[in-house]
Symmetry: C2
Subunit: 220 residues, 2 copies
DNA sequence: AATAGTATTTTTGTATACAAAATACAATAA
DNA sequence: TTATTGTATTTTGTATACAAAAATACTATT
Protein backbone atom coordinates (compact mmCIF):
# COMPACT_ATOMS: atom_id res chain seq x y z
CA UNK A 1 0.00 0.00 0.00
CA UNK A 2 2.20 2.85 1.19
CA UNK A 3 5.41 0.97 0.57
CA UNK A 4 7.94 3.57 -0.56
CA UNK A 5 9.25 3.15 -4.05
CA UNK A 6 12.66 1.75 -3.55
CA UNK A 7 15.63 3.16 -5.34
CA UNK A 8 17.62 0.34 -6.85
CA UNK A 9 21.22 1.32 -7.06
CA UNK A 10 23.30 0.46 -10.07
CA UNK A 11 25.35 -2.14 -8.26
CA UNK A 12 22.25 -4.26 -7.61
CA UNK A 13 21.40 -4.25 -11.27
CA UNK A 14 25.00 -4.95 -12.15
CA UNK A 15 24.95 -7.83 -9.67
CA UNK A 16 21.96 -9.41 -11.41
CA UNK A 17 23.41 -8.95 -14.85
CA UNK A 18 26.77 -10.44 -13.94
CA UNK A 19 25.12 -13.36 -12.21
CA UNK A 20 23.08 -14.14 -15.29
CA UNK A 21 26.21 -13.86 -17.42
CA UNK A 22 27.74 -16.54 -15.22
CA UNK A 23 24.65 -18.75 -15.15
CA UNK A 24 24.25 -18.51 -18.92
CA UNK A 25 27.89 -19.46 -19.32
CA UNK A 26 28.79 -16.32 -21.22
CA UNK A 27 31.40 -15.91 -18.53
CA UNK A 28 33.10 -19.28 -18.40
CA UNK A 29 34.10 -21.10 -15.21
CA UNK A 30 37.69 -20.35 -14.27
CA UNK A 31 37.75 -17.34 -16.56
CA UNK A 32 39.27 -14.14 -15.31
CA UNK A 33 36.91 -11.22 -15.47
CA UNK A 34 38.58 -8.10 -16.84
CA UNK A 35 36.87 -5.41 -14.83
CA UNK A 36 37.29 -2.53 -17.24
CA UNK A 37 36.07 -4.60 -20.16
CA UNK A 38 32.96 -5.89 -18.39
CA UNK A 39 32.20 -2.47 -16.95
CA UNK A 40 32.29 -0.99 -20.43
CA UNK A 41 30.09 -3.79 -21.77
CA UNK A 42 27.52 -3.01 -19.10
CA UNK A 43 27.92 0.71 -19.60
CA UNK A 44 28.95 1.45 -16.03
CA UNK A 45 32.13 2.27 -14.19
CA UNK A 46 34.09 -0.20 -12.15
CA UNK A 47 32.71 1.05 -8.86
CA UNK A 48 29.27 -0.61 -8.97
CA UNK A 49 30.98 -3.64 -10.44
CA UNK A 50 33.22 -3.88 -7.41
CA UNK A 51 30.27 -4.01 -5.06
CA UNK A 52 28.59 -6.59 -7.26
CA UNK A 53 31.71 -8.75 -7.13
CA UNK A 54 31.78 -8.54 -3.36
CA UNK A 55 28.24 -9.82 -3.27
CA UNK A 56 28.89 -12.58 -5.77
CA UNK A 57 31.91 -13.63 -3.77
CA UNK A 58 29.73 -14.02 -0.70
CA UNK A 59 27.52 -16.33 -2.70
CA UNK A 60 30.58 -18.25 -3.81
CA UNK A 61 29.92 -17.48 -7.46
CA UNK A 62 33.28 -15.78 -8.02
CA UNK A 63 36.66 -15.87 -6.32
CA UNK A 64 38.59 -12.70 -5.76
CA UNK A 65 42.36 -13.01 -5.56
CA UNK A 66 43.72 -9.66 -4.42
CA UNK A 67 45.85 -7.91 -7.03
CA UNK A 68 45.29 -10.79 -9.44
CA UNK A 69 41.67 -10.43 -10.36
CA UNK A 70 38.19 -11.85 -10.04
CA UNK A 71 37.59 -15.31 -11.42
CA UNK A 72 34.38 -17.15 -12.23
CA UNK A 73 34.06 -19.99 -9.79
CA UNK A 74 34.05 -23.47 -11.17
CA UNK A 75 31.00 -25.25 -9.79
CA UNK A 76 30.84 -29.01 -10.05
CA UNK A 77 28.61 -31.78 -8.77
CA UNK A 78 30.42 -32.15 -5.43
CA UNK A 79 29.68 -28.46 -4.82
CA UNK A 80 26.02 -29.08 -5.51
CA UNK A 81 26.06 -32.00 -3.11
CA UNK A 82 27.49 -29.69 -0.47
CA UNK A 83 24.72 -27.23 -1.16
CA UNK A 84 22.09 -29.94 -0.75
CA UNK A 85 23.67 -30.98 2.53
CA UNK A 86 23.35 -27.43 3.79
CA UNK A 87 19.79 -27.30 2.58
CA UNK A 88 19.11 -30.53 4.39
CA UNK A 89 20.25 -29.03 7.67
CA UNK A 90 18.55 -25.68 7.29
CA UNK A 91 15.30 -26.97 5.86
CA UNK A 92 15.17 -29.63 8.54
CA UNK A 93 15.19 -26.99 11.26
CA UNK A 94 12.77 -24.79 9.34
CA UNK A 95 10.30 -27.62 8.76
CA UNK A 96 10.42 -28.67 12.41
CA UNK A 97 9.56 -25.14 13.40
CA UNK A 98 6.85 -24.76 10.77
CA UNK A 99 5.08 -27.85 12.12
CA UNK A 100 4.99 -26.14 15.49
CA UNK A 101 3.97 -22.63 14.59
CA UNK A 102 2.09 -22.73 11.29
CA UNK A 103 -1.36 -21.16 11.03
CA UNK A 104 -4.32 -22.24 8.96
CA UNK A 105 -3.50 -19.69 6.27
CA UNK A 106 0.06 -20.98 5.99
CA UNK A 107 -1.18 -24.49 5.38
CA UNK A 108 -3.59 -23.14 2.77
CA UNK A 109 -0.77 -21.46 0.95
CA UNK A 110 1.14 -24.74 0.77
CA UNK A 111 -1.93 -26.72 -0.21
CA UNK A 112 -2.51 -24.42 -3.13
CA UNK A 113 0.97 -25.17 -4.33
CA UNK A 114 0.70 -28.92 -4.01
CA UNK A 115 -2.82 -30.24 -4.63
CA UNK A 116 -3.66 -28.54 -7.94
CA UNK A 117 -0.73 -30.35 -9.52
CA UNK A 118 -2.35 -33.71 -8.79
CA UNK A 119 -5.07 -32.84 -11.29
CA UNK A 120 -2.64 -32.11 -14.10
CA UNK A 121 -1.50 -35.32 -15.77
CA UNK A 122 1.36 -33.92 -17.81
CA UNK A 123 3.32 -31.29 -15.95
CA UNK A 124 6.37 -30.06 -17.77
CA UNK A 125 9.71 -30.04 -16.01
CA UNK A 126 9.99 -26.25 -16.22
CA UNK A 127 6.53 -25.77 -14.75
CA UNK A 128 7.25 -28.12 -11.89
CA UNK A 129 10.62 -26.54 -11.07
CA UNK A 130 8.84 -23.24 -10.55
CA UNK A 131 6.32 -24.71 -8.11
CA UNK A 132 8.95 -26.82 -6.39
CA UNK A 133 11.03 -23.75 -5.71
CA UNK A 134 8.02 -21.87 -4.43
CA UNK A 135 7.12 -24.71 -2.09
CA UNK A 136 10.55 -24.70 -0.49
CA UNK A 137 10.65 -20.92 -0.29
CA UNK A 138 7.24 -20.78 1.33
CA UNK A 139 8.30 -23.18 4.07
CA UNK A 140 11.29 -20.96 4.73
CA UNK A 141 9.06 -17.91 4.95
CA UNK A 142 6.65 -19.57 7.34
CA UNK A 143 9.54 -20.63 9.55
CA UNK A 144 9.97 -16.92 10.17
CA UNK A 145 13.70 -17.12 10.73
CA UNK A 146 15.36 -14.31 8.86
CA UNK A 147 18.86 -15.76 9.07
CA UNK A 148 17.85 -19.23 7.93
CA UNK A 149 16.27 -17.69 4.84
CA UNK A 150 19.34 -15.63 4.14
CA UNK A 151 21.72 -18.59 4.46
CA UNK A 152 19.47 -20.85 2.44
CA UNK A 153 19.37 -18.32 -0.37
CA UNK A 154 23.15 -18.32 -0.62
CA UNK A 155 23.16 -22.08 -1.04
CA UNK A 156 20.32 -21.98 -3.53
CA UNK A 157 22.15 -19.54 -5.78
CA UNK A 158 24.70 -22.26 -6.38
CA UNK A 159 22.13 -24.97 -6.95
CA UNK A 160 20.15 -22.87 -9.36
CA UNK A 161 23.17 -21.65 -11.26
CA UNK A 162 24.15 -25.22 -12.09
CA UNK A 163 22.91 -26.21 -15.54
CA UNK A 164 20.91 -29.24 -14.56
CA UNK A 165 17.21 -29.89 -14.67
CA UNK A 166 15.17 -31.53 -11.98
CA UNK A 167 17.03 -34.14 -10.01
CA UNK A 168 14.10 -36.12 -8.66
CA UNK A 169 11.30 -37.41 -10.90
CA UNK A 170 8.30 -35.09 -10.76
CA UNK A 171 5.88 -37.64 -9.28
CA UNK A 172 8.30 -38.69 -6.56
CA UNK A 173 9.05 -35.11 -5.61
CA UNK A 174 5.38 -34.22 -5.54
CA UNK A 175 4.64 -37.20 -3.31
CA UNK A 176 7.33 -36.05 -0.89
CA UNK A 177 5.81 -32.60 -0.78
CA UNK A 178 2.40 -34.02 0.03
CA UNK A 179 3.79 -36.08 2.86
CA UNK A 180 5.66 -33.11 4.27
CA UNK A 181 2.49 -31.06 4.14
CA UNK A 182 0.61 -33.84 5.94
CA UNK A 183 3.20 -33.77 8.70
CA UNK A 184 2.66 -30.03 9.07
CA UNK A 185 -1.08 -30.60 9.37
CA UNK A 186 -0.50 -33.23 12.04
CA UNK A 187 1.81 -30.77 13.81
CA UNK A 188 4.37 -33.55 13.87
CA UNK A 189 7.59 -31.65 13.89
CA UNK A 190 9.88 -34.66 14.05
CA UNK A 191 8.16 -36.29 11.11
CA UNK A 192 8.29 -33.08 9.09
CA UNK A 193 12.01 -32.75 9.74
CA UNK A 194 12.75 -36.35 8.83
CA UNK A 195 10.70 -36.21 5.65
CA UNK A 196 12.17 -32.99 4.35
CA UNK A 197 15.70 -34.14 5.10
CA UNK A 198 15.01 -37.35 3.24
CA UNK A 199 13.78 -35.30 0.33
CA UNK A 200 17.19 -33.63 0.07
CA UNK A 201 18.95 -36.90 0.70
CA UNK A 202 17.41 -38.43 -2.38
CA UNK A 203 18.92 -35.68 -4.49
CA UNK A 204 22.28 -36.19 -2.83
CA UNK A 205 22.18 -39.92 -3.51
CA UNK A 206 21.35 -39.41 -7.17
CA UNK A 207 24.15 -36.88 -7.57
CA UNK A 208 26.60 -39.25 -5.89
CA UNK A 209 25.58 -41.99 -8.29
CA UNK A 210 26.24 -39.63 -11.16
CA UNK A 211 29.75 -39.03 -9.89
CA UNK A 212 30.40 -42.75 -9.57
CA UNK A 213 29.12 -43.33 -13.07
CA UNK A 214 31.46 -40.78 -14.63
CA UNK A 215 34.34 -42.17 -12.57
CA UNK A 216 33.72 -45.67 -13.89
CA UNK A 217 33.58 -44.40 -17.44
CA UNK A 218 36.90 -42.62 -17.13
CA UNK A 219 38.48 -45.78 -15.67
CA UNK A 220 37.73 -47.86 -18.74
CA UNK B 1 54.83 -24.62 2.33
CA UNK B 2 54.80 -22.81 -1.01
CA UNK B 3 51.69 -20.83 -0.22
CA UNK B 4 52.09 -17.48 -1.92
CA UNK B 5 52.18 -14.53 0.41
CA UNK B 6 48.80 -13.03 0.10
CA UNK B 7 48.26 -9.34 -0.45
CA UNK B 8 45.58 -8.10 1.87
CA UNK B 9 43.72 -5.26 0.27
CA UNK B 10 42.62 -2.25 2.24
CA UNK B 11 38.97 -3.17 2.17
CA UNK B 12 39.66 -6.38 4.11
CA UNK B 13 41.40 -4.42 6.82
CA UNK B 14 38.66 -1.84 6.78
CA UNK B 15 36.12 -4.64 7.11
CA UNK B 16 37.80 -5.95 10.24
CA UNK B 17 38.11 -2.53 11.78
CA UNK B 18 34.50 -1.60 11.17
CA UNK B 19 33.33 -4.95 12.49
CA UNK B 20 35.25 -4.42 15.71
CA UNK B 21 33.84 -0.91 15.98
CA UNK B 22 30.39 -2.46 15.89
CA UNK B 23 31.20 -5.29 18.28
CA UNK B 24 32.82 -2.90 20.75
CA UNK B 25 29.73 -0.70 20.56
CA UNK B 26 31.63 2.36 19.40
CA UNK B 27 29.19 2.32 16.53
CA UNK B 28 25.81 2.00 18.22
CA UNK B 29 22.98 -0.24 17.02
CA UNK B 30 20.59 1.66 14.80
CA UNK B 31 23.12 4.40 14.24
CA UNK B 32 23.64 5.71 10.76
CA UNK B 33 27.21 5.45 9.62
CA UNK B 34 28.37 8.62 7.90
CA UNK B 35 30.67 7.23 5.26
CA UNK B 36 32.90 10.23 4.78
CA UNK B 37 33.38 10.66 8.50
CA UNK B 38 34.25 7.02 9.15
CA UNK B 39 36.49 6.89 6.10
CA UNK B 40 38.43 9.85 7.39
CA UNK B 41 38.67 8.33 10.86
CA UNK B 42 40.18 5.21 9.34
CA UNK B 43 42.39 7.23 7.03
CA UNK B 44 41.01 5.73 3.82
CA UNK B 45 38.68 6.82 1.07
CA UNK B 46 35.10 5.69 0.78
CA UNK B 47 35.85 3.08 -1.83
CA UNK B 48 37.33 0.36 0.40
CA UNK B 49 34.65 1.25 2.94
CA UNK B 50 31.95 0.51 0.40
CA UNK B 51 33.26 -2.96 -0.19
CA UNK B 52 33.54 -3.52 3.55
CA UNK B 53 29.92 -2.48 3.98
CA UNK B 54 28.81 -4.91 1.31
CA UNK B 55 30.54 -7.70 3.20
CA UNK B 56 29.11 -6.64 6.54
CA UNK B 57 25.67 -6.51 4.99
CA UNK B 58 26.04 -10.09 3.88
CA UNK B 59 26.79 -11.01 7.45
CA UNK B 60 23.75 -9.07 8.58
CA UNK B 61 25.84 -6.72 10.69
CA UNK B 62 24.66 -3.60 8.86
CA UNK B 63 21.66 -2.69 6.78
CA UNK B 64 22.08 -0.65 3.63
CA UNK B 65 19.12 1.43 2.55
CA UNK B 66 19.90 2.79 -0.91
CA UNK B 67 20.29 6.56 -1.00
CA UNK B 68 19.58 6.74 2.73
CA UNK B 69 22.67 5.26 4.24
CA UNK B 70 24.22 2.34 6.03
CA UNK B 71 22.91 1.59 9.51
CA UNK B 72 24.32 -0.56 12.27
CA UNK B 73 22.01 -3.50 12.66
CA UNK B 74 20.27 -3.87 15.96
CA UNK B 75 20.94 -7.39 17.21
CA UNK B 76 18.77 -8.72 20.00
CA UNK B 77 18.22 -12.02 21.75
CA UNK B 78 15.67 -13.31 19.21
CA UNK B 79 18.32 -12.80 16.51
CA UNK B 80 20.76 -14.83 18.54
CA UNK B 81 18.18 -17.56 18.92
CA UNK B 82 17.78 -17.58 15.15
CA UNK B 83 21.52 -17.90 14.80
CA UNK B 84 21.57 -20.86 17.17
CA UNK B 85 18.77 -22.50 15.23
CA UNK B 86 20.84 -22.22 12.07
CA UNK B 87 23.84 -23.55 13.90
CA UNK B 88 21.75 -26.45 15.11
CA UNK B 89 20.86 -27.39 11.55
CA UNK B 90 24.29 -26.92 10.04
CA UNK B 91 26.25 -28.47 12.88
CA UNK B 92 23.85 -31.38 12.95
CA UNK B 93 24.65 -32.22 9.35
CA UNK B 94 28.35 -31.59 9.88
CA UNK B 95 28.53 -33.82 12.94
CA UNK B 96 26.67 -36.63 11.21
CA UNK B 97 29.19 -36.49 8.40
CA UNK B 98 32.17 -36.25 10.73
CA UNK B 99 31.08 -39.45 12.50
CA UNK B 100 31.19 -41.17 9.12
CA UNK B 101 34.41 -39.83 7.65
CA UNK B 102 36.70 -38.78 10.49
CA UNK B 103 40.23 -40.18 10.67
CA UNK B 104 42.31 -41.04 13.70
CA UNK B 105 44.15 -37.72 13.49
CA UNK B 106 40.88 -35.79 13.43
CA UNK B 107 39.76 -37.50 16.63
CA UNK B 108 43.13 -36.72 18.20
CA UNK B 109 42.73 -33.07 17.40
CA UNK B 110 39.36 -32.99 19.13
CA UNK B 111 40.62 -35.00 22.10
CA UNK B 112 43.39 -32.50 22.64
CA UNK B 113 40.79 -29.79 22.87
CA UNK B 114 38.53 -31.61 25.30
CA UNK B 115 40.42 -33.88 27.68
CA UNK B 116 43.10 -31.49 28.99
CA UNK B 117 40.35 -29.28 30.37
CA UNK B 118 39.20 -32.07 32.67
CA UNK B 119 42.46 -31.73 34.59
CA UNK B 120 42.05 -28.03 35.20
CA UNK B 121 39.75 -27.38 38.14
CA UNK B 122 39.19 -23.66 37.65
CA UNK B 123 38.84 -22.72 34.02
CA UNK B 124 38.01 -19.09 33.41
CA UNK B 125 35.09 -18.21 31.19
CA UNK B 126 37.33 -16.45 28.68
CA UNK B 127 39.64 -19.45 28.44
CA UNK B 128 36.77 -21.83 27.93
CA UNK B 129 35.11 -19.68 25.27
CA UNK B 130 38.29 -19.90 23.24
CA UNK B 131 38.41 -23.69 23.39
CA UNK B 132 34.68 -24.02 22.86
CA UNK B 133 34.90 -22.01 19.67
CA UNK B 134 37.84 -24.05 18.47
CA UNK B 135 35.97 -27.30 19.15
CA UNK B 136 33.05 -26.24 17.02
CA UNK B 137 35.27 -24.87 14.27
CA UNK B 138 37.29 -28.06 14.15
CA UNK B 139 34.19 -30.17 13.66
CA UNK B 140 33.24 -27.91 10.77
CA UNK B 141 36.67 -28.29 9.24
CA UNK B 142 36.63 -32.07 9.54
CA UNK B 143 33.21 -32.17 7.89
CA UNK B 144 35.02 -30.93 4.81
CA UNK B 145 32.07 -29.05 3.41
CA UNK B 146 33.20 -25.67 2.22
CA UNK B 147 29.74 -24.18 1.99
CA UNK B 148 28.63 -25.35 5.41
CA UNK B 149 31.68 -23.65 6.91
CA UNK B 150 30.98 -20.47 5.01
CA UNK B 151 27.34 -20.32 6.09
CA UNK B 152 28.14 -21.21 9.66
CA UNK B 153 30.67 -18.41 9.83
CA UNK B 154 28.04 -15.88 8.84
CA UNK B 155 25.80 -17.02 11.67
CA UNK B 156 28.67 -17.06 14.14
CA UNK B 157 29.60 -13.47 13.39
CA UNK B 158 26.25 -12.49 14.85
CA UNK B 159 26.56 -14.73 17.88
CA UNK B 160 30.04 -13.55 18.66
CA UNK B 161 29.22 -9.90 18.15
CA UNK B 162 26.55 -10.07 20.83
CA UNK B 163 27.87 -8.85 24.16
CA UNK B 164 27.11 -11.91 26.20
CA UNK B 165 29.40 -14.39 27.87
CA UNK B 166 29.00 -18.12 27.86
CA UNK B 167 25.43 -19.29 27.76
CA UNK B 168 25.87 -22.79 29.11
CA UNK B 169 27.75 -23.48 32.35
CA UNK B 170 31.31 -24.58 31.61
CA UNK B 171 30.98 -28.06 33.11
CA UNK B 172 27.77 -28.81 31.28
CA UNK B 173 29.17 -27.63 27.96
CA UNK B 174 32.33 -29.64 28.47
CA UNK B 175 30.32 -32.75 29.25
CA UNK B 176 28.36 -32.29 26.02
CA UNK B 177 31.59 -32.00 24.07
CA UNK B 178 32.89 -35.22 25.58
CA UNK B 179 29.72 -37.06 24.65
CA UNK B 180 29.81 -35.73 21.11
CA UNK B 181 33.41 -36.84 20.79
CA UNK B 182 32.45 -40.28 22.07
CA UNK B 183 29.79 -40.53 19.38
CA UNK B 184 32.41 -39.71 16.75
CA UNK B 185 34.63 -42.46 18.11
CA UNK B 186 31.75 -44.90 17.96
CA UNK B 187 31.09 -43.76 14.39
CA UNK B 188 27.49 -43.27 15.45
CA UNK B 189 26.37 -40.53 13.13
CA UNK B 190 22.79 -40.35 14.36
CA UNK B 191 23.91 -40.04 17.95
CA UNK B 192 26.45 -37.38 17.06
CA UNK B 193 23.79 -35.37 15.27
CA UNK B 194 21.29 -35.65 18.11
CA UNK B 195 23.83 -34.72 20.75
CA UNK B 196 25.20 -31.68 18.96
CA UNK B 197 21.72 -30.44 18.16
CA UNK B 198 20.76 -30.81 21.80
CA UNK B 199 23.83 -28.82 22.71
CA UNK B 200 22.51 -25.87 20.68
CA UNK B 201 19.01 -26.45 21.94
CA UNK B 202 20.10 -25.90 25.52
CA UNK B 203 21.41 -22.47 24.58
CA UNK B 204 18.15 -21.68 22.77
CA UNK B 205 16.10 -22.71 25.81
CA UNK B 206 18.14 -20.54 28.15
CA UNK B 207 17.84 -17.56 25.81
CA UNK B 208 14.09 -18.06 25.55
CA UNK B 209 13.85 -18.10 29.33
CA UNK B 210 15.74 -14.85 29.42
CA UNK B 211 13.21 -13.27 27.08
CA UNK B 212 10.31 -14.50 29.20
CA UNK B 213 11.97 -13.13 32.32
CA UNK B 214 12.36 -9.64 30.89
CA UNK B 215 8.79 -9.76 29.60
CA UNK B 216 7.46 -10.57 33.03
CA UNK B 217 9.46 -7.77 34.57
CA UNK B 218 8.10 -5.23 32.14
CA UNK B 219 4.55 -6.43 32.83
CA UNK B 220 4.76 -5.66 36.51
C1' DA C 1 67.53 -21.12 -29.80
C1' DA C 2 66.86 -20.58 -25.03
C1' DT C 3 67.13 -17.78 -21.08
C1' DA C 4 67.54 -13.75 -18.16
C1' DG C 5 66.82 -9.26 -17.71
C1' DT C 6 64.50 -4.90 -19.06
C1' DA C 7 60.97 -2.07 -20.93
C1' DT C 8 56.16 -1.59 -22.11
C1' DT C 9 51.47 -2.36 -21.60
C1' DT C 10 47.65 -3.85 -19.04
C1' DT C 11 45.07 -4.20 -14.97
C1' DT C 12 44.13 -3.53 -10.40
C1' DG C 13 43.20 -0.79 -6.04
C1' DT C 14 42.30 3.49 -4.10
C1' DA C 15 41.69 8.48 -4.03
C1' DT C 16 39.48 12.36 -5.78
C1' DA C 17 35.71 14.78 -8.25
C1' DC C 18 31.06 15.70 -9.33
C1' DA C 19 26.10 15.27 -9.97
C1' DA C 20 21.83 13.80 -7.88
C1' DA C 21 19.28 12.85 -3.95
C1' DA C 22 18.15 13.42 0.90
C1' DT C 23 18.20 16.12 5.02
C1' DA C 24 18.22 20.32 7.73
C1' DC C 25 16.87 24.79 8.07
C1' DA C 26 14.70 29.15 7.46
C1' DA C 27 11.03 31.98 5.81
C1' DT C 28 6.33 32.56 4.81
C1' DA C 29 1.35 31.95 5.33
C1' DA C 30 -2.65 30.17 7.92
C1' DT D 1 2.15 29.53 17.43
C1' DT D 2 2.02 25.33 13.69
C1' DA D 3 2.26 23.79 8.70
C1' DT D 4 4.26 24.28 4.46
C1' DT D 5 7.14 25.62 0.92
C1' DG D 6 11.55 26.88 -0.87
C1' DT D 7 16.60 27.10 -0.20
C1' DA D 8 21.14 25.68 1.60
C1' DT D 9 23.86 21.95 3.23
C1' DT D 10 25.10 17.37 3.72
C1' DT D 11 25.57 12.87 2.06
C1' DT D 12 25.29 9.42 -1.18
C1' DG D 13 26.32 6.94 -5.66
C1' DT D 14 29.01 6.74 -9.59
C1' DA D 15 32.51 8.32 -12.84
C1' DT D 16 37.03 9.65 -13.61
C1' DA D 17 42.01 9.96 -12.42
C1' DC D 18 46.24 8.14 -10.92
C1' DA D 19 49.77 5.28 -8.78
C1' DA D 20 51.40 0.69 -7.96
C1' DA D 21 51.50 -4.04 -9.13
C1' DA D 22 51.23 -7.80 -12.52
C1' DA D 23 51.39 -9.47 -17.10
C1' DT D 24 53.33 -9.27 -21.45
C1' DA D 25 56.52 -8.19 -25.09
C1' DC D 26 60.94 -7.36 -26.27
C1' DT D 27 65.96 -7.22 -26.28
C1' DA D 28 70.48 -8.79 -25.35
C1' DT D 29 73.40 -12.37 -24.09
C1' DT D 30 75.07 -16.86 -24.11
Amino acid sequence: MNKPIEYTDLSSQVYSRVKSLIVSNELKPGEKIIQEKLAEQLGVSRMPLHKAFQRLENELMVVNVPRRGVFVRQIDIPDIIEAFECRKGLEGIAAAKVAKICQEQDLNKLEELVYPLLEIPDITEVEYMEVDQLFHETIMQISDNHLIQHLNKIGNVMIRSFPMGLILPIRESLEDHINILEAFKERDSEKAETLIKNHSNKAILILEQQINKTNEQSNE
